[in-house]
């Protein structure tokens, strides 16, 4: 009588395939808990086959079986395998290599328009700060916080100002100075980037306030005829640092623009694309600020010749612009 039961196929469906599922589960455990490198060549051939077998078993089980535990198990197994197979990433060193050969420069080229706009805003607010202080020196104290000016204000003597840009620091501790500069500047840049999400309004504010500050400082030095020296003092690291800060602002603006004006794409798609590109720019910004921190902490304190400072500034600027504009254009 029992042989008459026509459920032969259904009964044996699971028994026939269960070994495959267990094998797939073991391989996935190996990849997730250890490393994909642990897989042998046979495993690598097996993995996609087992994945497809499991996926097709899932399709059949959904239509023919009422074993809820089996269906749930197959679905979870298929999902895990899907993300291992289709979501796989390149090894870290190749990701890093790819970032320098094309990821970073391409991302920077992708936000060229925003960079120009942020640069224009920065220089416009710099000019505004300069002319405000020139027209009425009282503005200086309003614009520049006391601890930052550190005595370098409109009443300072030309001698004091000259010392501040040419004299070697009394104490050693350049490496701490460089570290502080690097971490602080990076943090501010990351903040400027992240704030871009709020339609870039806080990013604009952050960039403009930095520009005004710089303009006001310029006014203090220019009034004593130290404009040339101050520019050298500033640009030896500034050609890298200011560029990095402008790029961070531009990356923030890029996100803000995508969120506010997504264009033909959905808002989500536009924001996602802008965010991923912006993040690549930001890693670059952190690297640039590391370079700038070293230049500011060491080179600026050790090199006091104006022309040497200008030469370094120009070289750094040339390196960055050439790298960003021509690196791997056709990839």
């Amino acid at each position: 009588m029992s042989t008459a039961t026509p459920a032969f196929g259904v009964r044996h469906f699971r028994a026939e395939r269960e070994a495959d599922w267990q094998r797939l589960e073991a391989l996935l455990d190996l990849v997730e808990k250890k490393s994909p490198k642990r897989l042998t060549n046979e495993d690598l051939v097996e993995l996609p086959r087992l994945y497809r077998a499991t996926l097709s078993a899932l399709s059949i089980a959904r239509e023919t079986s009422l074993d809820a535990s089996m269906t749930a198990y197959l679905e979870s197994l298929s999902t895990r395998a899907y993300f291992i197979l289709y979501g796989c990433r390149e090894p870290l060193w190749r990701q890093i290599g790819g970032f320098f050969t094309h990821g970073w420069p391409a991302a920077v080229r992708g936000i060229f328009g925003e960079t120009l706009l942020i640069a224009a805003l920065f220089f416009a607010s710099g000019l505004a700060g300069y002319f405000l202080v020139v027209s009425d020196p009282a503005w200086f104290n309003a614009l520049v916080p006391g601890e930052m000016a550190n005595g370098r204000d409109m009443n300072a003597t030309a001698d004091f100002l000259r010392k501040s840009i040419y004299d070697a620091p009394e104490k050693d501790g350049l490496e701490i100075f460089a570290t502080v500069l690097f971490t602080h500047n990076s943090q501010v840049s990351i903040m400027a980037f992240a704030l871009g999400f709020a339609f870039a309004v806080p990013t604009f504010f952050l960039i403009a306030s930095n520009g005004v500050l710089l303009g006001a400082m310029y006014a203090a030095f220019m009034s004593k005829g130290l404009g040339f020296g101050f520019t050298g003092w500033l640009l030896i690291h500034g050609s890298t640092e200011l560029l990095a800060i402008l790029l961070a602002g531009a990356a923030g603006l890029h996100i803000g623009r995508a969120v506010a004006f997504p264009g033909q794409r959905t808002r989500m798609a536009a924001a996602g694309e802008a965010g991923r590109r912006g993040a690549l720019v930001m890693i670059g910004v952190v690297i640039m600020l590391l370079v700038a921190g070293l230049l500011e902490g060491f080179a600026r304190q050790l090199i006091t010749d104006d022309f040497a400072r200008y030469a370094i500034a120009a070289t750094m600027f040339a390196i960055w612009t050439v790298y960003f504009s021509i690196a791997n254009r056709h990839a």
Partner: protein, 299 residues
């Protein structure tokens, strides 16, 4: 006949609301379940604690180093760079791994995936985690300045805190539980549960024993998929009280006399009834008739 449960499918409402479909290139639909706001918050709390403990260890280590070498520069640099890396790259580092999850997410069985089901790029992981600067650290800064500053600045800081609350609580205000970081990275956080496969009840089933009960087709028509899968749960769990209760309910429903009270008899009866009904329903499934639950007359 009204049958609300059949219309909604076999899963409770709160599960359906968090389920998203992903169609593989092979054309099979997989269901992903989004992490709830509660488990996201839990995972973050664990990560924040780990970061805090690491920071304390870093600080203590730097101070001890300072004590042993008596020179401030190396320990200070280590501390500054360590803090910087911890603050900005803790999450990125862990989510870049194969499991795409920080220790906190692992503990709560969550992982990050790309919303389009594709590759989770390094850029996406960076983007979603750099955003924590406005979601976590900016509110923290406002909170600390509100504590430290004078009256007027305190109000300014509180307004700032209110503004950043928009970012902090953003996951609560959208269907997909997206943070600002998820939004700009094109990612979301899904549950990563691994249900174990339970023993096959049909394989263990003794066919002759089932036939001995001689269930009539009418008796096998009473229940549908939903009930038979609950019965599967009951059999797997194997709790004597539940088995006796369920066996009593089913016997009454199909109109058999209650031999009850004996756990062994009830277990055998339920196993036999489960096997018979499941085979019956699966046979109808092969003919394209799915009886979703006991209210489903269409199947």
């Amino acid at each position: 006949m009204p049958n609300p449960p059949a219309a909604k499918g076999l899963k409770p409402d709160y599960v359906v609301r968090r389920t998203r479909e992903l169609v593989t290139p092979e054309g099979v639909t997989l269901h992903l379940r989004l992490a709830s706001a509660g488990s996201r918050a839990g995972a973050f709390t664990i990560d924040a604690l780990i970061m805090l403990v690491t920071l304390i260890a870093l600080t203590v280590g730097s101070i001890m180093l300072l004590g042993s070498i008596g020179h401030a520069s190396a320990p200070l640099m280590i501390w500054l760079l360590g803090f910087f890396l911890l603050r900005n790259f803790y999450f990125t580092l862990f989510e870049s791994g194969t499991r795409a999850a920080t220790p906190g997410k692992r503990a709560l069985k969550l992982r990050v995936v790309a919303r389009d089901g594709g590759r989770l790029t390094g850029g996406a992981i960076l983007a979603r985690n750099l955003m924590r600067e406005v979601e976590v650290f900016l509110p923290l800064i406002f909170l600390i300045t509100a504590q430290a500053q004078g009256f007027s600045n305190r109000w300014l800081s509180l307004i700032g805190l209110g503004w950043t609350a928009i970012f902090v609580f953003m996951p609560l205000f959208n269907r997909d539980r997206l943070r600002a970081g998820d939004l700009i990275a094109g990612t979301w956080v899904v549950e990563n549960e691994r249900p174990k496969i339970a023993p096959d009840l049909l394989a263990a089933n003794d066919r002759d024993a089932t036939d001995a009960y001689a269930f009539t087709p009418g008796e096998l028509e009473i229940y549908g998929q939903f009930e038979i899968q609950r019965l599967e749960d009951v059999l797997h769990r194997n709790d004597p009280d539940t088995l006796i209760t369920v066996a009593g309910v089913i016997r009454r429903k199909i109109g058999r006399s209650d031999e009850g009270g004996n756990w062994n008899h009830d277990r055998a009866f339920l196993e036999a009834y489960y096997a018979a009904t499941r085979l019956h329903l699966e046979r109808r499934l092969l003919f394209g008739q799915r009886k979703r639950d006991k209210f489903d007359s269409a199947g």
